[in-house]
Symmetry: C2
Subunit: 249 residues, 2 copies
DNA sequence: CTTGCTCCTGACGCGGCGGGAGGTCCGTAC
DNA sequence: GTACGGACCTCCCGCCGCGTCAGGAGCAAG
């Protein structure tokens, strides 16, 4: 009744496991006395220490840093909290970003599933590849702008545009195959629509539009596979579109 | 020139390390062919596979799950993304919470430092303990309310109230020691101010005020040490305050 | 043939424990 | 006296995604 607790008693009272207490001891955070037989006995002092460990752990401070803090009799709480705050906020920001991308992706897959055209595994992987390419070529601000613009347009518009792209590619491809002259109004109308769709998302920002061009040129493969087209075919389509634009003057 | 890459070439092109490629292979994610001497050779197929691995990794999917996905020829992208989204959002929420608590704590320590009364290490640890007690006794909604109320009040008010508490305890203690009758207006004025300060933060919400009482009763120790007072002294102060309230009718 | 680069396998380390093996100690009941 | 159940002890492996040696072999150029 000396208020000396066994490891099991301390564990259940403090709401942690025997194994955890062993671990703290291995790390030199805790040094209970021992009975003759080698069983650990925890006094009030150790009990308080466990509380302190748990308190600092609740802030996400790593155990070795906790040891350093508790061993230094006069550490600076403000400095510790400041460090921890920085670390946690950085990690939270990273995860927040990731969560955002996953939400966008989830919404896209959801739309496709509801539209009856679920994304097959390989197209999905190519979409991811394309996303990586895009994130490499755009600045974070541009990505924010694109995302904001997409939110502005609303889900219905996005759905409609996503459905229109393949059809548009199809039509342009037919004109190209038919050898339609780049100055022909039929071609020009299609390419105007093309540029209009792009402008809808880029919000007429030349920087963003240019970056989009870079993505298409440097890693056209991924973008094309995303649309379900052969990269060579895609390149031809782009070249034809460019000729139409040039002819428009 | 068979477009068979050595491990070093693939690593530098894909922007990862040789060790990482070894690791993927250990996990059965990748199976490059070998030269007679046992050196790995990566063909286009493996290169693509590495891309896919990296793509899924960029979503935070664990390697073993990636293996499962890539090994199953027709896995469901939507399901995978949905799972990952849930997991990441849960983790992001946890970290966001933690970041919030660290911000609050940082602001508090900052105020104390600027006020010339930096928080000593032991008081800091007791504050953490008190925070844990409080979080155990309040519902999440109540905590949100408290936080919102604190934001409403503004930093200056909080600063002033934090400075007033010790003085108030001091004055109440003097009346108690002097044996002032609980019905005495001097005592009543002090306790009215006490309740007023509490009400400022609890926003007169009886649920929150009651929870605060529970914290003070069940784990009075931590709350008192936070204020730099002896727990017994604190208990006496609370008992005296309650007598004054009862006498007020 | 040597030099210097790349490649190989094997193993430890990190962080915070979980979980199990195999043995010891303790209190109670027979 | 002893048998039993439960709590305790000390190793030690596993997780996750690699980083980082260590010690040795292959390979192209001078």
């Amino acid at each position: 009744m000396d208020s000396l607790l066994t490891i099991g008693q301390l564990a259940s009272r403090a709401g942690l496991t025997v194994r955890a207490l062993h671990h703290y001891e291995d790390l030199g955070l805790l040094a209970p006395s021992r009975t003759e037989a080698g069983h650990r006995r925890y006094g009030p002092c150790e009990v308080e220490r466990v509380q302190q460990i748990r308190s600092l752990q609740s802030l996400g401070v790593p155990l070795r840093e906790i040891r350093a803090a508790l061993d230094a009799p006069n550490f600076d709480p403000a400095a510790l909290v400041a460090r921890q705050r920085e670390a946690v906020e950085a990690e939270a920001a990273r995860l927040g970003d990731l969560a955002g991308r996953l939400r966008t992706l989830h919404a896209y897959l959801q739309r496709r599933a509801e539209a009856g055209t679920p994304v097959p595994p390989d197209a999905f992987l190519q979409t991811l590849h394309a996303m990586q390419d895009i994130e490499r070529h755009y600045t974070p601000e541009q990505l924010d702008q694109l995302k904001a613009r997409a939110d502005e347009l609303g889900e219905d518009t996005i759905r409609a545009v996503e459905a229109e792209w393949p059809q548009l590619f199809e039509k342009v491809g037919r004109e190209m195959d038919a050898g339609t002259d780049p100055t022909d109004p039929r071609a020009r109308t299609l390419i105007d629509r093309w540029d209009e769709l792009v402008a809808m998302f880029t919000n007429h920002d030349p920087g963003i539009t240019q970056a989009l061009g870079t993505v298409w040129r440097e890693s056209g493969g991924s973008a094309s596979r995303m649309a379900g087209l052969d990269p060579d075919r895609m390149r031809d389509l782009f070249a034809y579109a460019q000729r139409v634009r040039d002819a428009r003057e």
